[in-house]
């Protein structure tokens, strides 16, 4: 998804860093080979990015300016949760959902273009006050969850998977908003997606809460 944007904008001093929060090292590789990115792709087995930036799902993105300053805190990277209205048997997507999905992605990409072209004058580049106002503050349970997650991942890599999995479950218990933690340890289907019935149950349990929060950005549908 990002390769085309990267090629379009790289000459204007823009780049993409894609971080795979994925702990089975073999897992992200087929996807990387298929996408053939020429931007930097990193493997983050312990979900350090989520811990440092307080992320809970993928894809989430942060905009960082030339001075290393956050001008947009973590938010869904142009994603709309259309899958929740997908027909689970036929996998068909209602037409309005397909449209919303496309519009959300298009608006997000256009915003990036505007930022690359206009820098801090872009309405999408948030000044420090507005950027700070949008930050979520991780609480003690989140900090404990990241410690438990780190331990669980280490133990699983060390072949101590039974205890490791218990720590991953504890991490999810402490940080239930984190889909990253939950899906990393959930059972996966034949293509490696954590989208078995337990995933759908957890999604349905959201009720009116969003899987991907609405992106607070001008131009979003």
């Amino acid at each position: 998804m990002w390769q085309a944007l990267y090629e379009e904008l790289r000459a204007q001093n823009f780049t993409v860093v894609a971080v795979a929060m994925d702990s089975r090292p073999a897992d992200p590789l087929p996807w990387i080979e298929a996408a053939k990115p020429t931007y930097l792709t990193l493997i983050d087995r312990d979900h350090r990015l989520a811990e440092l930036y307080d992320m809970v799902n993928v894809p989430e993105a942060v905009w960082i300016d030339e001075a290393g300053r956050i001008v947009r805190p973590p938010e869904p990277a142009g994603s709309y949760e259309g899958f929740r209205r997908m027909n689970r048997e036929t996998k068909e997507m209602p037409e309005d959902v397909a449209r919303l999905t496309a519009q959300t992605k298009a608006a997000y990409l256009d915003a990036i273009r505007d930022w690359v072209r206009n820098g801090p004058r872009s309405e999408h580049a948030l000044d420090p006050r507005r950027a700070e106002a949008r930050l979520k503050a991780p609480d003690e349970n989140v900090a404990r969850a990241h410690a438990a997650f780190r331990l669980g991942q280490y133990l699983i890599r060390a072949g101590r998977s039974e205890e490791g999995r218990r720590w991953l479950e504890e991490a999810s218990r402490l940080h239930p908003e984190s889909w990253c933690m939950w899906r990393q340890q959930a059972g996966v289907n034949e293509t490696g997606l954590a989208s078995l019935p337990d995933f759908w149950q957890r999604v349905d349990a959201l009720g009116d809460k969003r899987y991907y929060p609405a992106i607070d950005m001008k131009g979003m549908p």
Binding site: P28, A61, L155
Partner: protein
């Protein structure tokens, strides 16, 4: 042998002593693993010092060793350990993570690319506009 998992990475310490919920390290092992130094003023890191809790000093420092669990709790930082006590995660305080984000300086990290080569985000990309985006195969 105890393995410590910190923000800096993984480190195995040969001289650590574990008794149930307590991890005792020499001050030099503590400093090597975490950057925290035991000074007369207390525990110091990056120029800032935290005094030992009055009346409870021996919970943290005894017989020339530091009880890291007590220290970490005193600092308000998250920590956990394996059931066997051989792997300890010395985590961070939620408040410190939040303060780092509120500074709006993008937190740096070092991670490998698919070939295993390590990259540090900020040193590589300062001077460019960066879209830092997460993804996963799950």
């Amino acid at each position: 042998m105890v393995t410590l998992l910190t923000d800096q990475g993984e480190r195995t310490v040969a001289g650590a002593r574990v008794e149930r919920e307590r991890l005792w390290l020499t001050p030099s092992d503590l400093e090597a693993a975490t950057g925290w130094e035991l000074q007369p003023e207390g525990f110091c890191h990056g120029g800032a010092c935290v005094p030992l809790p009055a009346g409870r000093e021996s919970e943290l420092v005894r017989d020339g060793r530091v009880e890291v669990g007590a220290l970490w709790r005193h600092l308000g930082k998250a920590l956990t350990h394996s059931e066997a006590g051989d792997v300890w995660v010395l985590g961070e305080a939620a408040g410190d993570r939040a303060a780092a984000l509120r500074s709006l300086q993008a937190p740096d990290f070092t991670l490998p690319d698919p070939s295993g080569a390590m990259h540090s985000l900020l040193s590589e990309l300062r001077g460019k506009k960066v879209l830092l985006v997460s993804w996963a195969s799950w």
